[in-house]
């Protein structure tokens, strides 16, 4: 019966469901948050308002400069991550692609390798 009703409705009217769900979600989230605020006890103390450091008490001010070395490594990792994402589907249909596919992938890998060589030569792989 429900299916019949859905079929009768126009395509545009079906979007009403989406709108209905959005309202439902927003209502649910706000209701839960408000309920939690009203029901939960609130007893503040100095140790509770400290920065959470997995049980340890923090020894220095966390707002200070820190080395960005890790991000450089993360970026370099991304090169190979993307490379793998492209290499897998390419390897699956390698036979049908033939020489064309081989050359295409060589071009791609050479460009990525150039990026790695650049980073290497600039000392991005050195952990000081």
């Amino acid at each position: 019966m429900t299916l019949g009703l859905v079929q009768q409705m126009s395509y545009g009217a079906l979007y009403l469901y989406v709108g209905l769900f959005m309202l439902l979600v927003a209502g649910f989230v706000s209701a839960v948050l408000m309920l939690a605020r009203m029901l939960s006890p609130s007893r503040r103390s100095a140790s509770k308002s400290k920065v959470y450091e997995t049980g340890e008490s923090s020894v220095t001010d966390p707002w200070r400069p820190f080395p960005v070395r890790y991000y450089v490594f993360a970026l370099l990792f991304l090169i190979f991550d993307v490379e793998t994402a492209f290499l897998y589907p390419w390897a699956v249909i390698y036979r049908t692609l033939g020489v064309y596919g081989f050359v295409e992938m060589v071009v791609f890998v050479v460009i990525l390798a150039a990026g790695l060589v650049y980073a290497w030569k600039k000392g991005a792989l050195k952990w000081v």
Partner: protein, 479 residues
């Protein structure tokens, strides 16, 4: 087989750009002391791109590749010439400054990335390809704006540019997706079918408006221009010079292609939007430029105003003057490239404060004469380059048969008069003020001065260049 020998011939300029991009990066990183060698390779690359594009254009090459998503025709090749030419002068001019920072390799690589993006962009016939190429041209330009680490404004300008640019890119992409959804094709010929009836669906029209907004940001048309002054003031001068010319010309070119090839059925809508954008842009650019004491910031607002002039040609793309309007965009882009690049490079030589131009006619007469020519050309005084661009726009506008376009052309004439005080304010300072200390020559200015003089000569001799240029523009194959 998705390619043929013809594909490689048609893609020669792009292949050269890609190879030189890698070459510059690799040579630069292995020969760290040889900054001059890297600059030379970059300049050679742009010359080869220019030569190969010119060869393709002269041989009348025409081809459509990759399922019709990529086209090499006269129109695209013309803009490839403009991009490669301005990249040549910009890379020469960038040499001294980039070597001073110690990161010449990175800077020149970024220039070549923008070039590669712009070369691909003008040939795209597929909306998603357009987006990819546009981002390839834009993302390196964020880095170029923020490249000067010795000045705080550079990072500030870069930050403002990247944040507003990301918003604009997403607006543009949203427009493209809506058009794709409405026409179930991203190819311009498929898009044209959805827009052919004359009463396109509301979704498609929303897509068109979002697309125009995104492009208005990229070409810094008001009210999407607010990033321009900060970005150009913060950027290294050679970066501001290059970014205000090459990617902008390519962006105008692809916008023209999208509108003419993809949405001829809705010409009534987008010519009206272009006319309103043009009027607002011209007034905003010129009125703000009048109040600047920093020459670089003034030229940034002037480049906003010039985007308005080009948009006037877009407004004229109707009635009986369509061919003239397309020609106007092409000729204006070339004329603007020469004069604006030159004006920015003179700032690199002299300084960005208005006072540093004082008495330049006595201290450095040749540079002062070049600056005078660029300023006069930006106003549009015949027979300099800017005049021919404006002439074509006015011819196209008066032939369009639309009242709104007539109004826009009238506004263009009014704005030309409005722009005289700030351009000739510089000229006044150069002639009548007493020179200040420290505007003398410094070492290593050779390539920069060569670029300035060459661009000044092109600006002057534009009345000769206009003959082949108009012939090429007339047979561009877009209309």
């Amino acid at each position: 087989m998705p390619y043929s020998a013809e594909t490689f011939v048609g893609l020669i300029p792009e292949i050269i750009a890609a190879i030189f991009l890698l070459l510059v990066l690799m040579v630069g990183v292995f020969a760290e002391r040889a900054a001059g060698l890297v600059s030379g390779i970059t300049a050679l690359g742009t010359v080869l791109i220019f030569a190969s594009s010119a060869w393709l254009l002269a041989s009348g090459f025409h081809g459509s590749f990759f399922g019709g998503g990529y086209v090499v025709d006269g129109f695209a090749l013309y803009f490839k010439l403009v991009v490669a030419g301005s990249a040549f002068f910009a890379s020469l001019a960038a040499t001294r400054w980039a070597q001073g920072t110690g990161d010449a390799t990175e800077y020149l690589t970024l220039i070549l990335s923008v070039v590669l993006g712009a070369l691909l962009l003008v040939s795209m016939r597929d909306l998603f390809g357009v987006f990819l190429a546009l981002e390839l041209a834009t993302i390196p330009s964020y880095a170029m704006v923020a490249f000067d680490r010795s000045r705080r404004e550079s990072a500030e300008g870069g930050m403002k540019y990247i944040i507003t640019g990301a918003v604009a890119s997403s607006v543009l992409l949203y427009g493209i997706v809506l058009i794709y959804g409405a026409s179930s094709s991203a190819n311009l010929s498929g898009v044209a079918k959805a827009f052919s009836s004359g009463h396109a669906s509301p979704v498609a029209l929303l897509g068109l408006i979002l697309l125009l907004s995104g492009f208005a940001f990229k070409v810094s048309a008001a009210p999407f221009h607010f990033w321009t002054p900060d970005a150009y003031q913060g950027a290294p001068t050679s970066a501001a010079a290059f970014l205000s010319v090459a990617p902008k010309a390519a962006t105008f070119a692809i916008l023209l292609r999208i509108l003419v090839e993809g949405m001829p059925g809705e010409a009534r809508v987008w010519t009206a939007i272009a006319a309103v954008l043009a009027i607002v842009t011209m007034f905003t650019g010129n009125l703000f430029a009048l109040r600047q004491s920093n020459v670089r910031r003034m030229l940034a607002y002037s480049s906003v105003a010039h985007s308005g002039y080009v948009l006037t040609a877009f407004a004229a793309l109707q009635g009986g003057a369509k061919a003239e309007a397309v020609q106007a965009v092409m000729i204006y882009s070339a004329a603007y490239a020469a004069m604006n690049l030159g004006a920015f490079l003179v700032i690199d030589l002299v300084g960005e404060d208005t006072k540093s131009f004082n008495g330049l006619i006595r201290t450095r007469p040749m540079v002062a004469a070049s600056m005078f020519l660029f300023m006069a050309a930006l106003v549009g005084i015949p027979p300099l380059s800017g005049f021919w661009g404006k002439l074509w726009i006015i011819i196209a506008g008066t032939g369009s048969g639309s009242i709104l376009t007539y109004v826009t052309v009238g506004v263009l004439v009014v704005n030309t008069v409005l722009s005289v005080p700030y351009y000739f304010g510089i000229v006044r300072n150069m002639i009548f003020e007493e020179p200040v200390a420290g505007t003398g020559e410094t070492k290593g200015e050779g390539p920069l001065k060569f670029s300035v003089y060459a661009l000044a000569i092109i600006t002057v001799l534009f009345f000769i260049i206009i003959i082949p240029l108009a012939a090429v523009a007339g047979s561009s194959g877009l209309l």
